[in-house]
Symmetry: C2
Subunit: 374 residues, 2 copies
């Protein structure tokens, strides 16, 4: 069964919205209150371009939360459990954000633009609201706002060729998560070596929302010789690569999880003395040890179309874990999934299953990622 989505004014449009419509987008989802393309009518071709070529994605819905002012660095350090002391301007960091109970509420990339200027490039929750009230209640001298910044991603092994053609050879020297402020035909942007896949690539952080169609056109034109085509963040690839999807794998309201459970424990700095939101709770969680942890799963049986809901993993009818998302991997020829599993479980004993569309399927825990980036 397929359902329509109405394009109305209550959900925001990305600056690339019109360009994606012109290029035949067929499906949208909503992320940060903004339409985000789902696919362009050719899911297998879009996957193949990501794995073997280059794809261009409207990820404008990956909104930015800007921190600007004398206390911007102090606020950044207070918002995340990660130690930012070695971070320099031009560098990005993957930073879990937790609430005061130590529950993950977003997992953005932090871009340090200057000593007093940062962006959080966020997953799907209203992080600006949260960061702003924290800053104001603490009396910090920092402005928290959403700037006119919208990323366009180019992802896949040939993304480097497109980036070189667009920006020059210097992009080859850009390290992963590092970025540079630059321009393209007069369009101001930040070019970062990043993106929500493990196939390599870049994100072009457009800094003028009026020029979305023009930037899309320039990237499409430069990518033409390299076989570029439109696509969208790809659930199959992210599951193969073991990427975390905040919103699917965890969401603080309904599927609360802490960074230790999610495999992000090494990003929690409880040793430096830096204060941050959730510090006391995370110290307790670490001391008590976690009772479940992130894992992959193989799922037996014929190829699955995917799951609409998270699914409990059971043994002898008792819940022992949870699958958040599953898919069929063509590269592996198997159904794969990610989720959480009890740390006290004797996994080797087998006997784990999920119920999918009324039938039991055997599942087997597997280490992540399923496929190492090439």
């Amino acid at each position: 069964m397929s359902y329509q989505i109405h394009i109305g004014p209550n959900i925001r449009k990305s600056p690339f919205f019109e360009a994606t419509v012109a290029d035949g987008v067929r499906s949208f989802s909503v992320y940060n209150h903004m339409f985000i393309p789902g696919h362009f009518g050719d899911p297998e071709g879009e996957y193949d371009r990501l794995i073997n070529g280059v794809a261009m994605w409207d990820v404008g819905a990956q909104r930015q939360v800007a921190l600007e002012g004398p206390d911007a660095a102090a606020l950044a350090a207070y918002l995340t459990p990660r130690d930012l002391s070695g971070t320099v301007a031009g560098q990005g960091r993957y930073v879990p954000l937790c609430n005061h109970d130590g529950i993950l509420i977003n997992d953005p990339v932090l871009l340090k633009l200057a000593a007093d200027r940062f962006w959080l490039s966020i997953a799907d929750s209203d992080t600006a609201l949260w960061a702003e009230v924290a800053a104001r209640e603490k009396g910090l001298d920092v402005r928290v706002f959403e700037p006119d910044v919208s990323p366009l991603a180019i992802q896949g092994p040939k993304a480097i060729d497109v980036a070189v053609d667009l920006f020059g050879d210097w992009v080859k020297e850009l390290r992963y998560f590092w970025f540079r402020e630059t321009a393209l035909a007069g369009i101001p942007l930040v070019l970062a070596r990043s993106g929500w896949s493990k196939q390599g690539g870049f994100e072009l952080y457009l800094q003028d929302g009026a020029q979305g169609s023009e930037l899309w056109r320039l990237v499409k034109e430069a990518g033409g010789p390299h076989g570029i085509g439109p696509g969208a963040p790809n659930d199959v690839e992210r599951l193969e690569s073991g990427l975390l999807s905040y919103g699917a794998d965890a969401r603080y309201q309904c599927d609360p999880a802490n960074p230790f459970e999610l495999g992000l424990g090494k990003l929690v700095d409880l040793d430096s003395g830096q204060d941050f939101i959730g510090r006391a709770a995370l110290a307790k969680i670490r001391a008590a040890a976690i009772t479940r942890q992130r894992t992959g799963f193989f799922v037996d049986g014929p190829p699955v179309a995917g799951n609409q809901h998270p699914l409990p993993v059971t043994r002898d009818g008792a819940p022992v874990g949870r699958i958040s998302e599953m898919t069929f991997s063509r590269r592996l020829g198997r159904n794969i999934a990610v989720g959480l599993i009890s740390t006290s479980l004797d996994v080797a004993a087998g006997g784990l299953s999920v119920e999918l569309d009324g039938a039991e399927r055997q599942v087997t825990p597997a280490p992540l990622p399923f496929i190492q980036p090439g």
Copy 2:
């Protein structure tokens, strides 16, 4: 052009999701990271039921933010500019919420369940994140969380008959926005006289997410003799009635507006001495006087299908306002809209227009509501 939406695990399902699928939902939107029905394939019939009969809506996406504990009342008072001092248990209040700059960030109904127990029944922003960090940074002794509560609305002039059949004659005495904790066939719920229309009705706040299909079935069965049918919050009716839609008419990230501009100034209590988030900013805004205000508009020309984006209102090419949403009203036989307009404008001089689908349309400001509730 119509677009699909994928039903995946990254967006939450309401407890009524399966029931709406069984009843033929054709379109979804996303609200508070949850699917919400758009329509069931018969928009005109669904509108007619709301105006002349009774409709049932899955508004589970209207999530609750619970405040519980010794400082719950103190937190509630700190979160909203509205004076809550006269509010008693069993009473609901429409409460604008603002950030520290006095910008509206949500406009929930606050339900006071007990002296130390409240729900905020929220519009589309992550208010729990925001309220929780405010509470914790202030050191208040209150738990902020999302409870297992999901409203099902029955709306329309015959909703009262359905409610009487379900709950008994006492519901006739329930005043607007008041509520009572009760049960239906053992299903725990809160029955409130409320809902996002001006056609009258009730919201059944289901308190057990596992019983969504059963509650839907009970309401459908009781409503059968009264001609009940499925529907969804209705943009035509809300525009006719002048209801505010947070997300369409204002959104703090992209279309920031303060309560004075939005016609909510009388709910801002700057006189009692109560401290609340945004108090200093709102005092300044009031002292300086606003430069634009909420208004309706008539839009000339043939019936419009609606607008995808907010539209600037111009005079002689200069922006003087903004239309957030427009529609054709069958009851009025005219196109109507809501938005904001400059307070310094000589409206009687005319000459206002918007550009819609490449053509200029004359617009005329009009008081809200367009149609008084019957």
